[in-house]
């Protein structure tokens, strides 16, 4: 006797509607012959006979909605004649369903499974504690393992591909750590394909690695955070003069002095005065987390895409120290040698795309941070000073902020402060700690 149960035909389906019953009691069926049609919220599936035999009993009717695991019908495969005489129950419902069984964890409280199934889980590289058992009292069955593996494969193909670069692995690892995934997926190769459609040639590339992570991260940020971007213009003449002056000193010490250390310095001074910009929101507890440390992320371009190494405790570092550290992190990023330590823990991000170009932008906040600044091209512009037109070195600054936490007035006051500090860099020294 083979009990034919409703299998999980779609990702994580719990129940399905029996659309059509294609066989009758007493009818003989061939293996793989369609028996039923079932509809779930995702798919419409035809269920076929697992064995050749005679339909002994059908427990369901068309139109009925049943749970996964419910016995739908019984097929007599003619292998065990003895059991044929056993009277089958009217309807096999899973009595265990009513038992409130909390899955076990430590020591004796481990998940329920036979030693063979445990071994199978290890062979399949699955953490059995994460698998929901559908067997009696929540036992994990072989079938449960297979379904769990299938779901994972669909959900996250090509985790840790063998070809991943240093940065890719790093990002994968950080995400996996966050998602507490306990599973290492089997490798799946995905090659570049070129297809020709009616419009012309399309190259199809797998979205994977860092690109995929960036995609997911950006999507998450814009989905959660209501972004507002405010743009302002800064006069850079004094800062340029200062940098020029300090450059010779920096060169002596073999330090590559860019504008970025000054921007960071001005930023952390402003952040200390505007605590809501150095913060995050805990969506689960509805709390605002004001951070009393200033770890500044530097958006960095690498061969594989954007990565954000973090300068820790930027408020405690001198301009030269910041310059050295930026240089070092940028090199590590390009070489793919950053570690988890380097890319986590940021409280605010700066994106310095100025050297490349661009007038203004609407940067996406690096969630769970609440604001981001991007700095744009420095150029000579015709501006009005004391009622007269003069030529000055100008730079635009775009600040995107989380409007849940920060209002427009606060944001503009914040950028005003940064503007003040950078237009007259003497103030930077006045505020130095």
């Amino acid at each position: 006797m083979v009990e034919f149960k409703l299998p999980d035909v779609g990702e994580g389906m719990h129940e399905g509607e029996i659309v059509k019953v294609l066989v009758r009691t007493g009818e003989s069926v061939q293996q793989d012959q369609p028996l039923l049609e079932v509809q779930t919220d995702k798919v419409n599936a035809e269920l076929s006979a697992p064995v050749t035999g005679i339909i002994r009993e059908i427990f369901i009717a068309e139109g009925e909605t049943v749970e996964v695991g419910t016995t739908l019908l019984v097929i007599d495969a003619g292998t065990d004649a003895k059991k044929e005489e056993t009277k089958l129950p009217e309807k096999v419902v899973n009595p265990e369903k009513t038992v409130n069984f909390a899955p076990a964890r430590a020591d004796y409280r481990r998940s329920l499974a036979t030693p063979y199934v445990r071994q199978l889980a290890r062979e399949m590289k699955l953490d059995i504690e994460l698998v929901t058992g559908t067997g009696a009292a929540g036992r994990v069955t072989e079938e449960d393992l297979r379904q769990f593996a299938n779901r994972l494969q669909k959900a996250a193909p090509a985790k840790f591909p063998a070809t991943a670069t240093g940065n890719e692995r790093l990002l994968e690892a950080s995400t996996v750590a966050v998602e507490t995934e306990a599973v290492v997926q089997p490798k799946t190769g995905s090659a570049t394909r070129v297809a020709t459609s009616s419009q012309g040639e399309i190259e199809r590339l797998p979205l994977k690695g860092i690109r995929k992570k960036i995609a997911e991260h950006m999507m998450k940020s814009v989905t959660i955070i209501p972004h507002v971007t405010s743009v302002d213009e800064l006069e850079m003449d004094q800062l340029r003069a200062l940098r020029e002056k300090l450059k010779s000193h920096a060169d002596k010490r073999n330090i590559k002095l860019t504008f970025l250390p000054f921007f960071i310095k001005a930023l952390v001074i402003a952040l200390k005065e505007f605590p809501t910009l150095n913060a995050s929101i805990d969506e689960h507890t509805n709390e605002i987390l004001l951070k009393r440390f200033y770890h500044i992320g530097i958006a960095t371009d690498t061969p594989e895409g954007l990565i954000v190494p973090v300068i820790k405790d930027a408020d405690h570092k001198s301009i030269f120290q910041l310059a050295e550290e930026i240089d070092q992190l940028a090199r590590l990023a390009r070489e793919g040698k950053l570690t988890m330590e380097h890319i986590t823990g940021g409280t605010f991000t700066i994106s310095n795309v100025g050297p490349i170009g661009g007038l203004q932008a609407t940067p996406i906040i690096n969630h769970p941070e609440v604001a981001i600044i991007s700095l744009h091209k420095m150029e000579k512009r015709w501006v009005v000073r004391e009622d007269g037109g003069v030529i000055r070195w100008m730079m635009n600054l775009s600040l995107s902020f989380d409007h849940r936490l920060i209002d427009g007035v606060t944001a503009v006051r914040f950028t005003n402060r940064i503007k003040e500090l950078l237009e007259d860099p003497n103030l930077l020294f006045a505020e130095m700690v």
Binding site: V99, N100, T114, R118, K125, A136
Partner: protein, 481 residues
């Protein structure tokens, strides 16, 4: 030691040929690894040569001898005159049993391509080990190593064993005569097993236990049955008593003891057996050379695969924290071997059964009622007595009971314990049931052969459900607790 000597290369070295080490070596051989098994003394370890096997041979003999006195009741008339036991003859028989098993292990090692090296091993570096064989020093270069050097009796300095009057369990099993009087320091399972055996063979036995009861690791209601039998065998049991001094004079040992109840007292016996615990053999292996970490008591912490803090060095058995049991060592050994061969094996079970060969025997697996309640379970517990089992009575073994502890909500088995005749063989069913995550119904609905002792599990399981056939069941309410 010859410096610059050429090292013999091998995949794996296993240090120690006990039940953990030889199983690991054989499994490695099966998996196609080259293996060197280093044994200081004889293959089989403490278990086979000085522990489980010889002690069971003595316990069996003592049991048979003791039964002679009750044969009369069964209608057997022995010829008049007192039966006698000659321990020296027993030694010959015991040696033949041990030798047969030694040869078996030897043969299996050979058949699986395991190279056995006799000598004491010391790590020289993270991939080399030196072996001091008789008159030579050999060096082996390995990829992985398994430490399986076991444990030895713990003897405190003031109880220095001399092999004559103050003995450890090894000395005790090597005696040629049954001592007239025997004092045993430590009422744990080794002390009680040997104490009861010698009591049956005619010794006047006094057991001195520092804890509040004998077999302190076992649930009190189980050890109670053993205490009852100990008294029937004429043994003296002193609980909550500490030995402070031992003096040997004129072939007698005098122990100075103190207890809150009796104050100071002295106990004199021909022999004193010290069984107060075991310590791991990890001191002289040069583990520092490899950087393998030990805890403050000398045990080597390991993961579920058996690997130490050094991923290529494994440790199994008594050198690892946990109960010093041969079957645990064997399981760990096989898992370590498989992990070395790249298989995804793991020691993943909390169900390590225990067996105690006292009179009557005690065996169990899983939680006791107390442990289950401590873990936050609501439990149902029921016991079934031997005296209601036909076979037990027909064997003249009506003492003891089997107990089943289940989770009240799901009816999953949490623990199975038995005290009584052949408990050691009966617990196999319990281990399998718990390992398969069975419910009490699974045991109750399974046909058990009649007439056998195994029916006590069936009936105890039924009793949990309130419908055992051969006892009057307590009301459901009472059973539900």
């Amino acid at each position: 030691m010859v410096v610059g000597e050429v090292a013999v290369e091998t995949d794996v070295v296993v240090i120690g040929g006990g039940p953990g080490g030889y199983a690991a070596a054989i499994r490695l051989g099966q998996l196609g690894k080259s293996v060197v098994l280093i044994e200081k003394e004889v293959l089989g370890g403490v278990c086979l040569n000085r522990g489980c096997i010889p002690s069971k041979a003595l316990i069996h003999t003592a049991g048979e001898y003791h039964k002679l006195s009750s044969l009369n009741k069964l209608g057997i008339q022995l010829p008049t005159g007192k039966s006698t036991f000659h321990m020296s003859s027993w030694q010959t028989w015991k040696s033949s049993v041990v030798a047969q098993l030694n040869n078996g292990v030897d043969y299996l090692c050979q058949a699986n391509g395991v190279t056995v090296v006799k000598g004491a091993a010391t790590f020289l570096s993270s991939d080399r080990i030196g072996v001091e064989t008789s008159g030579d020093f050999e060096t082996y270069k390995f990829k992985q190593a398994i430490i399986a050097t076991g444990s030895r009796p713990f003897i405190p300095p003031f109880l220095k064993t001399d092999g004559e009057s103050i003995l450890d369990s090894t000395d005790m099993l090597a005696l040629d005569e049954v001592p007239e009087t025997l004092a045993i320091i430590g009422g744990g399972y080794i002390g009680m097993e040997l104490g009861m055996a010698f009591a049956k063979l005619g010794s006047q036995v006094t057991v001195i236990e520092a804890a509040e009861r004998i077999l302190p690791q076992t649930a009190a209601h189980l050890s109670q049955e053993v205490l009852k039998q100990a008294k029937q065998l004429g043994m003296t049991v002193k609980i909550a008593t500490k030995v402070e001094k031992a003096e040997v004079a004129n072939g007698r040992v005098t122990l100075a003891c103190t207890s809150v109840k009796n104050g100071s007292e002295s106990i004199t016996a021909h022999k004193t057996l010290v069984t107060i615990g075991r310590v791991p053999n990890t001191g002289e292996l040069g583990l520092a050379q490899v950087g393998v970490e030990m805890d403050e008591r000398g045990y080597i912490p390991v993961t579920s695969t058996g690997s130490t803090n050094k991923p290529h060095i494994f440790a199994i058995g008594d050198v690892t924290p946990g109960p010093a049991l041969a079957h645990r060592a064997t399981k760990q050994g096989i898992v370590a071997a498989e992990v070395i061969a790249g298989l995804p094996s793991s020691v993943d079970s909390p169900y390590v059964p225990y067996v105690i060969f006292t009179e009557p025997q005690i065996a169990g697996v899983g939680m006791t009622r107390e442990e289950a309640e401590l873990q936050g379970y609501s439990v149902k517990v029921a016991a079934f007595p031997y005296r209601a089992n036909g076979r037990a009575l027909a064997m003249d073994e009506g003492e003891g009971f089997a107990e089943v502890i289940v989770d009240q909500e799901s009816h999953l088995l949490l623990g199975m314990h038995v005290v009584g005749a052949d408990a050691s063989n009966l617990i196999g069913e319990g281990v399998l049931a718990l390992e398969l995550a069975a419910r009490v119904e699974d045991v109750a609905l399974t046909m058990h052969p009649h007439p056998t002792l195994s029916e006590i599990w069936l009936e105890a399981a039924e009793a949990v459900l309130g419908h055992a056939i051969h006892i009057v069941n307590k009301s459901k309410v009472a059973v539900n607790k």
